[in-house]
Amino acid sequence: MKSNKRVNFLVVAAVLLVLPLVLQQGGNAWVRILDMSLLYVLLALGLNIVVGYAGLLDLGYVAFFAVGAYMFALLGSPHLAEAFPFIAAAFPEGLHLPIWATIPAAAAVAGLFGVLLGAPTLKLRGDYLAIVTLGFGEIIRVFLNNLDRPVNLTNGPKGINQIDSMKFFGLDLGKTNHFFGFEIPSVSMYYYLFLALVIVSVIICHRLAHSRIGRAWMAIREDEIAAKAMGINTRNLKLLAFGMGATFGGVSGSMFAAFQGFVSPESFSLMESIMIVAMVVLGGIGHLPGVILGALLLAALPEVLRYVAGPLQAMTDGRLDSAILRQLLIALAMIVIMLMRPRGLWPSPDHGKMPVESIKS
């Protein structure tokens, strides 16, 4: 039994490692889809802390993604130097801080925003919280869209471009690299980076769920009053959940900015927030394999279908183009999966008993 598990693990690991090398034979676009799916997995894992563990429905999660992305973009692009003379004086080449400064900054600022949002909404529950977080997401987007004056901070709807790629230990992920005679393009390099991040996140989330904090979150989710009566500091723990979830969002955001090399408010619409919530809920709320499954399914499947949409588009004289088809499929998936399996595709076995079971096995 045990060796069987190890074999499975090795097979999965080998497939994950070789996958981009195989896919890139068919073109970088396929690896790109993979990269974006991994980013969504990262976001879904972060949101799962807030929605799945602590039971706080957050419909504005993309705001933290946006904050992280913009933070990274501002610190790693010529934009600030162009907009502010005093920065240009100090950094004539433009601000190009190393990722050891930008990613922590993005994570910290996003986490701060998470706590900022959490603080006034502590008293709210359920649907009220959903709508306030939704509003928060919209507020951030409106500000990103309009903060090109009086001072040009975000460059408005045009967005910020020429963002640095990920560079560490002399490795530039933005370029094609050569290892042992193999040519590995930038998208595949990012794939490995994102994969590593996902694995780290899964470990963090898994450990969190079984820690004292995680159990307290689940207690709050199941019955807040009872949790309070058991001596759980619900205020601090809820803030912690918001902050943690937002930090994940911020890190994913900085990855997104570096990967795309360009950010604009368009990428952070409400639709994205809804997609991420849908990933968490469709997959199986609070259950890591479920969340990952949901994220991969919703992120990758429509993208793959985009490539087979051509004939369909020709058949319906252009009315059903790939973007519309994708939206249609996501909408249908949300309805049909929920109707068939209201607890998600791969729900957690039983809420309260999760930690005990894992100790036994």
Binding site: R125, A130, I131, G135, E138, F143, V277, A278, M334, R343
Partner: protein, 309 residues
């Protein structure tokens, strides 16, 4: 001063549309505790349906007076939206009535997305001009201007609110609705059919949304498949603002929100030395919402504490 008066008129017009939409949200929420995310899309379908009917009637029978065309298209939009919302409830919400609370919320969001996409396929994604059917000559009113369309909006809102209040407070259906909102199980024991009542609630909400949609289209003069989203969101905010589940609260919240938005948009530029412009008007609703919920989490007129732990 004229600016203030004008902004108040605009705010009242905007607010009465919000109020009509908010009523649909609040009635549904009062009975089954669900945010019907597809409500804004029902509004959009209503507006687009009436646009199609108007276009068709203007072609097929020229010379028909504008108000008659508007009335007929409005009635057809009522029927279409009523049937649509009835179907939405039956397909997407009813099977999930006893599921985890997030499940119907996700189907609601899915429905909203589905309707938007279908509308985009049926009506194409471009902006369509919505014809002005009522006399375009505006009235002067103490330095401010009010159009016939805006008067029609205010009048129609007043009439439909009175009818709704009568329906809820003095008819058998209204009593059944209030009973179901209070406690569906006990209401069922008293001989109320919760399913019928819930369907009726969705249909009434859809009719109000269709009315608001036609008003919105006539006031702004364009229709498009995404037009329902923002008013829907703001109307939900209005419903929460007034105290969700409370009909009077929805109306009050809607009108106050309309006024805040319109006056705020008119004054934010001068007040901040043109640093912030009216492009920020869309976020007033949310800022108000955050403040209200922080200070008074159950809304202005809400009595029930939002406690469903």
């Amino acid at each position: 001063m004229e600016v203030l008066l004008q902004q108040i008129i605009n705010g009242l017009v905007l607010g009465s549309m919000y109020a009509l939409i908010a009523l649909g949200y609040t009635m549904v929420y009062g009975i089954i505790s669900l945010i019907n995310f597809a409500h804004g899309e029902v509004l959009m379908v209503g507006a687009l349906t009436s646009w199609t009917i108007i276009g068709w009637m203007q072609q097929a029978m020229p010379g028909t007076p504008g108000w008659l065309i508007l009335l007929i298209s409005l009635l057809i939009a009522f029927v279409v939206c009523g049937a649509l919302n009835f179907a939405i409830e039956k397909i997407a919400y009813r099977p999930l009535r006893n599921s985890p609370r997030l499940a119907p919320l996700i189907t609601a969001i899915g429905m909203s997305l589905l309707l938007q996409t279908l509308a985009m396929i049926i009506w194409k994604p471009n902006y369509k001009p919505y014809p002005t059917l009522l006399p375009a000559e505006p009235f002067q009113f103490g330095g401010a201007v009010i159009t016939v369309t805006q008067l029609f909006i205010l009048g129609a809102t007043a009439v439909s609110l009175s009818v709704l209040m009568w329906l809820v407070n003095y008819t058998k259906l209204g009593r059944a609705m209030r009973a179901t909102a209070e406690n569906p199980r006990v209401a069922a024991l008293m001989g109320v059919r919760p399913d019928t009542v819930i369907s009726a609630t969705f249909i009434i909400g859809a009719v109000l949304a269709a009315l608001a949609g036609v008003m919105y289209a006539s006031n702004y003069g364009t229709v498009q498949h995404t037009m329902g989203f923002l008013p829907g969101l703001k109307a939900f905010t209005a419903a929460v603002f007034g105290g969700i589940g409370n009909l009077g609260g929805a109306v009050l919240g809607g009108i106050l929100l309309g006024l805040i938005e319109s006056i705020g948009a008119g004054y934010i530029g001068p007040l901040t030395g043109n640093v912030l412009g009216s492009q920020y008007s869309d976020i007033f609703a949310f800022i108000v919402l955050i403040f209200v919920l922080t200070l008074r989490p159950s809304g202005l007129l809400g009595e029930r504490v939002a406690d469903r732990a």
